[in-house]
């Protein structure tokens, strides 16, 4: 790390924060004392506004310092208005293991002003209705990008109007011609769309529009970060504050440079405190379509590839062309994965789950409530075609081996879980299959639960085999 590094999160200590708090230990924030509050502030687990004494005029300076100190490394920018407004950026850290990533990458699907009404409607509807339930989360798409391919201001305005009539999703208005973008803005003057894009050639006109309509603005400089910084500096001097960075997305030649550019921008923001790059980024996997492969499937494939890489490498928003489930499902699941809180072990509900159509003779198995363990076990049983009762024991979200070693999964918790599950009324037998990694609990479980214990495989992939050979 270099000398001009600004206080990134790693350097921020609870003591630094504490020294600026009122130190009254008034508990109004809900914490026991100011030090506890300071620790939670550093971990981004509470909001500074919870400190009421800090509102006092005498703390004005301290408050301002704290706001500055706790400011995210990357500015947060809001696109759209109302319930469906999308926040992008606001990142606190470069690596997700340091602290949770905020504001999942917003995905936009494009339409053009030369598409038929039917095509526009169907693409808008697709984007709006996209929904996949994954571990209790609804995976969705966030925005519509309207592009002017006609270069006709009236056509663009009509297209924007048409889209806005059909959806509340925020829009991105795409044209390098400010007059065309303005024409689109006239259709939705208060909707705060993202404007794409200011370049070295049109920055003045685009800046005017951003100010006039209070819109966030993309600055675009493909593979030229110096120009990008120059555009940002100029926009800020101009009065445009909500700026989004587009360093160019190259799906073919230039892919390495693309990954580098996004990485360098985020590092400059998070480690070096480079204010001009401390802004959200926009990736445009849609550019894969400017160099189409042999067929649409292959081009979609390439677009998906680059989108996946950019979800990992610091894109805060993406514009995508293909509306294919086999592309957007893995991308939205990836985004969900990357944006979960890495500090919390993901736990599922501790309860009895019926897999298939179990009856009074069906096997009874137990597993832990660590989500990864649970889903793997459930998946393995399901794919084996067996019907079973699976009792999920509360192991405080730890895996079997860690739970047993750490006494979070004990003979007692297992015996209790059996009793509470009601499985004793569901089956005639009293034979319990436990994970191989919990083998050493078997004697104790038998004593406490009065069930016979059968030790299962070390890995749940062996369950099918076990049931086939030993269950009868």
């Amino acid at each position: 790390m270099t000398d001009n590094q600004k206080g990134g999160l790693k350097q921020l200590s609870p003591i630094d924060v504490y020294s600026l708090l009122p130190k009254t230990n008034c508990k109004e924030c809900g914490e026991d004392n100011c030090m506890a509050f300071a620790t939670k502030l550093v971990n981004r687990e509470v909001n500074l506004e919870k400190c009421t004494p800090l509102k006092d005029a005498k703390y004005k300076k301290n408050y301002a310092k704290l706001v500055e100190m706790l400011k995210p490394a990357v500015k947060e920018v809001t696109i759209g208005v109302g319930d469906k407004a999308v926040k992008i950026g606001g990142k606190l850290v470069m690596y997700r293991h340091e602290l949770t990533y905020t504001n999942p990458t917003a995905i936009a699907i494009d339409v053009t002003d030369e598409m038929s009404d039917e095509e526009i409607s169907s693409r808008v509807k697709y984007t709006q209705d996209f929904s996949y339930i994954y571990i209790g989360n609804n995976l969705q798409l966030q925005m519509i990008a309207v592009r002017s391919t006609s270069n006709d201001a009236d056509k663009f305005k009509a297209a924007v109007k048409k889209v806005a009539e059909q959806t509340d999703l925020p829009l991105i208005l795409c044209s390098y011609d400010a007059a065309i973008v303005e024409s689109g803005l006239m259709a939705i003057p208060k909707a705060r769309p993202l404007l794409y894009a200011a370049t070295k050639d049109n920055w003045k006109e685009m800046a005017e529009l951003a100010l006039m309509y209070k819109c966030p603005l993309v600055v675009s400089a493909p593979n030229d970060i110096s120009l990008l910084r120059s555009l940002v500096k100029t926009m800020i001097a101009y009065g445009v504050e909500d700026v989004v960075l587009d360093p160019g997305t190259f799906a073919n030649a230039g892919l390495g440079e693309t990954i580098n550019n996004f990485t360098m921008i985020r590092r400059a923001a998070c480690s070096l405190g480079d204010e001009l790059l401390a802004l959200p980024t926009l990736g445009t996997p849609i550019t894969a379509w400017t160099e189409p492969a042999k067929n649409a499937t292959l081009t979609t494939w390439k677009e998906t590839q680059i989108a996946a890489m950019l979800i990992n490498r610091y894109a805060d928003a993406l514009i995508i062309h293909a509306t294919e489930g086999w592309s957007l499902l893995p991308l939205t699941v990836l985004r969900q994965n990357i944006y979960t809180d890495p500090r919390k072990p993901v736990a599922v509900k501790a309860e009895m789950v019926e897999i298939g159509t179990p009856d009074e003779n069906s096997p009874v198995l137990i597993t832990s409530n660590f989500a990864l363990t649970y889903y793997t076990v459930a998946q393995d049983i399901e794919s084996s075609g067996n019907s079973v009762y699976l009792i999920v024991v509360d192991s405080e979200g730890t895996a079997i081996d860690a739970g047993v070693a750490g006494r979070k999964m004990t003979a007692e918790t297992i015996a209790d879980a059996i009793k509470e599950s009601g499985v004793e009324e569901k089956v005639k037998h009293r034979k319990l299959i436990i994970p191989g990694k919990a083998a050493r609990l078997s004697g104790e479980i038998e004593d406490l639960s009065k069930w016979d214990v059968m030790v299962g495989p070390q890995d749940s992939s062996g369950i099918a085999k076990l049931l086939q050979d030993k269950w009868k």
């Binding site: 592009r147 390098y176 970060i225 504050e241 390495g256 998906t304 890495p342």
Partner: protein
């Protein structure tokens, strides 16, 4: 430039302008009086077009040409370096492979090529199983009949698909099988595959620590000098014995830990007591996209960064069993038609899992679907070779092109 406009000064302004000025920290306001003068100038009748007056107001103090803001590369130096490991041995080094493959050696996080070039491109090894295995249909479709026996399967992926490496999974040795293969039989299969193809080989056990070690004992001796990657050595095995076999017969150890950096450190530490760092690769577990990939990704990214920052126990090249992507039901299951053809969704699941871990720092991928392998190889090539010139205008065209 002042930090911002003081509220007291602003109160002189018409309230509608106040709205426009607050929150604008970058306004050039050396002196409020000057601004008021300008305002008076600007507010002459005729210049009061509905909203553009606002922009005009700002423009008065605004740049008229692009401000210079050169960028210097945000380069960081790392005290640590990942070990370089060579797999396979040619005749002159006591083996029989047509080529060897070297991985690792990184001095920067994955593909931070603005900092350091990638010293060795990551490699993809094709999975081959030695006996009947449940494969997703979309994979079977690609392999034809070849997957019925390991020799023809290995030949197919090397000769027809240009595999750089092959991973031979000895699943037949599993003690849970009705008739588990003996260590001697397993060693013969490995020799047969070595005969059939000349790429470096990974040899995988069944996951039973005792049986695997018994098999590795035969295999390492029978294939002396080939620099096989022995997959895997785990904490519940006799580590000293495993490591000594690997060392004595000239192979490489794959140290497997289950998503726990401390476990990974301990295993590397114990292996390093018997093996040089050039003979160890580590696998911290790959979970499928949607089924724990986030854990796998962060463990790997942390491992790599810790290694670069100087942790000597995390400086081994990393391996990923990317085939685990197929454990996700979304990869193989027929879903509602809106989620697309599973023959595309499945391999894409493997691709996205692989690309994510590529960016976390994986050096060797063990993969299954030919299309997924091809994609990873293409991306790796793109990321590790100079692009030369490319057309930035063409990219900009996406905005106005009918795609």
């Amino acid at each position: 430039m002042p930090e911002g406009v003081k509220k007291e000064s602003n109160q002189k302004f018409p309230s509608e302008l106040f709205d426009l000025l607050t929150g604008n920290n970058e306004l050039e306001l050396q002196d409020v009086d000057i601004l008021l003068d300008e305002l008076q100038l600007l507010f002459q009748p005729g210049m009061m077009a509905a909203s553009p007056r606002v922009a005009a107001l700002k423009a008065a103090a605004k740049p008229t040409s692009l401000l210079d803001a050169p960028f210097s590369l945000p380069i960081q130096k790392y005290p640590g370096q990942v070990a370089e490991v060579t797999l396979g041995a040619t005749k002159k080094d006591g083996g029989s492979r047509g080529k060897t493959i070297t991985i690792g050696g990184e001095k920067s996080p994955a593909f931070y090529t603005f900092e350091n070039p990638t010293p060795n491109p990551p490699v993809v090894s094709f999975d081959v199983f030695d006996s009947k295995t449940a494969l997703p249909r979309s994979v079977r479709n690609e392999l034809g009949d070849t997957y019925q026996d390991p020799v023809s399967w290995a030949k197919f992926v090397v000769d027809k698909l240009g595999a750089d490496m092959v991973t031979l999974h000895l699943v037949s040795i599993d003690p849970l099988n009705p008739k588990p293969a003996t260590p001697a039989e397993a060693a013969r299969t490995v020799e047969d595959v070595l005969q059939a193809v000349d790429v470096p080989l990974v040899v995988g056990g069944c996951g039973d620590p005792e049986k695997d070690l018994a098999v590795f004992e035969k295999v390492t001796a029978a294939c002396e000098g080939e620099r096989l990657l022995i997959s895997t050595i785990t904490l519940d095995m006799d580590i000293e014995k495993s490591a000594k076999l690997v060392e004595k017969y000239g192979h490489v150890a794959l140290a497997f830990s289950s998503m726990d950096l401390n476990q990974a450190r301990e295993l590397n530490r114990r292996l390093l007591e018997h093996l040089p760092k050039e003979s160890i690769i580590m696998d911290t577990t790959t979970a499928a996209l949607g089924y724990g990939l986030d854990y796998a990704f962060s463990i790997m990214e942390r491992a790599r960064i810790s290694g670069l920052l100087g942790d000597p126990e995390l400086q081994q090249p990393m391996s990923s069993g990317t085939t685990n992507a197929w454990a996700a039901r979304e990869a193989w299951k027929k879903l509602d038609p809106q989620w697309g053809d599973k023959n595309l969704r499945g391999p894409m699941w493997e691709v996205v899992t692989g690309l994510t871990l590529l960016l976390a720092g994986v050096d060797i991928f063990m993969m299954l679907h030919p299309a997924a392998v091809k994609t990873l190889r293409n991306v790796i090539k793109r990321l590790t070779t100079k692009s030369g010139t490319f057309d930035t205008d063409k990219i900009a065209n996406w905005v106005s092109s009918t795609l």
